[in-house]
Symmetry: D2
Subunit: 269 residues, 4 copies
């Protein structure tokens, strides 16, 4: 009675699994998780550093400690005596319109604006958007941050994207919005991590319906760590307070990579 | 009233986010998502190819179409008019004892067996485990597969790990179990993807509590793709049948990497 | 750092739990679950049969077998080796805009329409709504049903409400919409169970934000039954098909209450 | 390919929905939600006050404010900009082994103990269980409470059940356990609400697999109230602290029922 679902994603055989036509078994070890995710959501493998940029976005999203409702929720549920997947699922279910959702809203805005009037001047478009949101008394999603000001994650992602040649019309529009916001409010409201990801995903050709997913995947890694830490060290049925976690891990330490600092790297761009 | 949570995972500052002491903002672009996940769940960055192997495991886990209850569930929920994170969360909540859970059970078994009697002969250990499970009328988790026989994903992961020098006592025990199962049942019941991941995670020093998480992270990528496909192409409130999906994507195609086939690569090991 | 949540719902003491000022311990056994739910969502105990009508709505919502995505999902998850609450939670997460969501949309429409122009003629309002939805190419939520035509649940709930004196302006508007739809489309599109619940909840003074909750609570009872049936009788990791379940329970049987049939009861109204 | 699910729960027709053979449409308004839930989980309608007792249990479970992780979680998720069902689902997913799970464990213990040795002396059984748990260093689930000492909900449910003639061998065993705990520890550790529900559900013939469900259903009513309160009054993306909620609702007030106090009622038993 139920008709079979039509899907363009994958096909199974006993000896192989095809994703968008490619054999997953052969991909593993040669293509990164970021490459594979790019294939899943755009239909094609990256031709440049798109997979690397997706991974950089995921890395940037893994942790925000108990300041993040997703992490707070996963930990509160993990404390109640449930299996790992339940805690992770509850944490993901908190990634809503007000938490990680700015990326989706921003990507949609950038993509629809550019699709509607591809030839318009980018500064005019930006001024129009800012005026429109101010008239409606709404904040433009993806700009400004209550804790990180400016958001170092946004700056770094944009810098990597420039290095890798993945910067296009959507980033240009987002930059123009930054300027229009500055002109209109007198305040600096630079892209936050959600805004930068939205602009960069758009420039990589990722449809806005997927924009939230990079945050979902990246954050899941942190949720796993918090859930297991809670399950193995937390007293059962205690109360999990948000925000004021006490850090008991290793002190700040330099990366072992021995490479130049980001500042030095960026100077060479 | 609620005491602050003690956590060794991360610490926030306005200009940086430390994970296990390292600055996440500097890690992005230099360390892969697999490296970062390894840091999250073991406390240290990889010294070899551990992060690459974690990524290979995630890549192998992304898709099993509507044959997987996680995917089937995510798609059924996505059809009901909910936001993306709800569909992904529901799919993850299906990764239970009988679906993706064999990896956790197998990793625990391997780790506890080796911890209890580190000096015992591996063949004796394996024979003991097989006898014990047969006496209890239970299947050993991580061996044999109803659809993939043998499981090409297991073979490939083990081959990559060998190439990368990540094969130790837990894989040896798992191999010995394969032989003991063959001797005892007369059937070939090789490691499936869950079993291979369990043994390899254990040889990388990952605690069994995290064993299921590689599958959770990898599969989430596929859940995202299916959820968005359903939300953008499926008629609302239709019935989502499992298993018999109709594939309408690209025909099988070779990877563009131009590298030698896996078979050729493996010959050179 | 996190300010305490302000709540008007409940307050705890070692020897009692106050809900909206009343002692829950004293309520149990004297007030029904429906009465208590009415107190929770309106702030006051029922003065008439409101609690009974909420219970009738919940009873009507408990089951729609595997034709309902919520039930299908709960059962698919229950099959994967998870605890009961995981299966129920996954099922509830499917109660979205396209499944059980028509009640919320309909209640909002009825409440906002009547609040905006309380003195307008109800037929004019109804004709306006129908014209507006037709112009937008959208279906009016809460009218017509793909399987039940007409929906016997709607008819029965409306009949009970009339008997209990809970029928007001929102039901009148919904009735006028039925007539306007008939006049405009030439088809009979009577209120379905979602539409009837939306109109009746509105006439009981329940804010539309809660409209979906009666279905959530009622359906959860059925989800529990299906999840446990699956956990105790289903082969682990099988495939759960929607719709075509095979019924193996008791044959149709009359209620033992020995009362007159509904038809006879209704004749006496 | 997927075989149809066999179910004894319900069957659909365009003009009626049969649950365990009875027409749901005729049941609504005549049978309570508690009666209907009893039918769902035991296969038969109550012959006495079983449905009333199930409702009393649900009423007792609706609220424990932000002291309950389920409520805390639902509220934290509701704050993130998600639909109602997501917040309720996340809250339910927290009802694990350490939160509301004692009822399941206690019901299983009571049922299995009585099934294994139905003719043994109840005091001997109780002493054996207490000794066995003490030897294992574990707490007996369902006895004692960290906040309510004694738990007024347990006392009231047991009193109602006695009034309604629903007290049998499982309550007797639970009473004997109370005495054995007192004798063994020197402390009073009376049944808490989980323990009382476990014993009473068992005496009503409800299988232990369903024991947690009464709490799930009852608590969902409170989760709905908290989720909507948060969605309509909470500032988006704030932090939700557990425990120390500030109550701003009505002051304590007597029930309008005008009946005698519980104490007076109970004197007449």
């Amino acid at each position: 009675m139920a008709n079979p679902v039509k899907t363009a994603i994958s096909r199974l055989y006993p000896d192989r699994i095809l994703v968008r036509g490619y054999n997953l078994v052969e991909m593993a070890g040669r293509y990164s998780f970021g490459d594979t995710f790019y294939l899943l959501i755009t239909g094609e493998l990256p031709t440049g550093h798109e997979g690397d940029l997706l991974e950089a976005m995921m890395v940037m999203s893994v942790e925000h400690s108990l300041n993040a409702p997703s992490t707070h929720t996963a930990r509160a549920v993990a404390n109640c005596g449930v299996p790992l997947q339940s805690a992770v699922a509850a944490g993901i279910s908190a990634i809503g319109e007000h938490h990680g959702g700015a990326g989706e809203a921003c990507a949609r805005l950038l993509q629809e604006t550019l699709q509607e009037s591809p030839d318009e001047d980018v500064k005019r478009m930006a001024a129009g958007l800012v005026a429109q949101f101010q008239a409606a008394g709404r904040r433009l999603p993806g700009f400004g941050h209550r804790f990180h000001d400016p958001d170092p994650r946004a700056r770094r992602l944009l810098s990597l994207a420039q290095e890798w040649g993945i910067v296009g019309a959507h980033v240009a529009l987002a930059r123009a919005i930054e300027e229009a916001l500055q002109a209109s409010t007198g305040r600096s409201l630079p892209m936050n991590v959600d805004g930068a990801q939205a602009a960069l995903l758009s420039d990589m050709g990722v449809d806005w319906h997927y924009a939230k997913s990079v945050f979902i995947l990246g954050r899941s890694a942190g949720l796993v760590a918090h859930a297991v830490e809670e399950m193995t060290t937390g007293k059962p049925f205690r109360f999990i307070a948000p925000v004021q976690a006490e850090y008991i891990g290793p002190a700040e330490r330099p990366l072992p990579s021995g490479t130049a600092t980001i500042e030095a790297e960026e100077k060479n761009l």
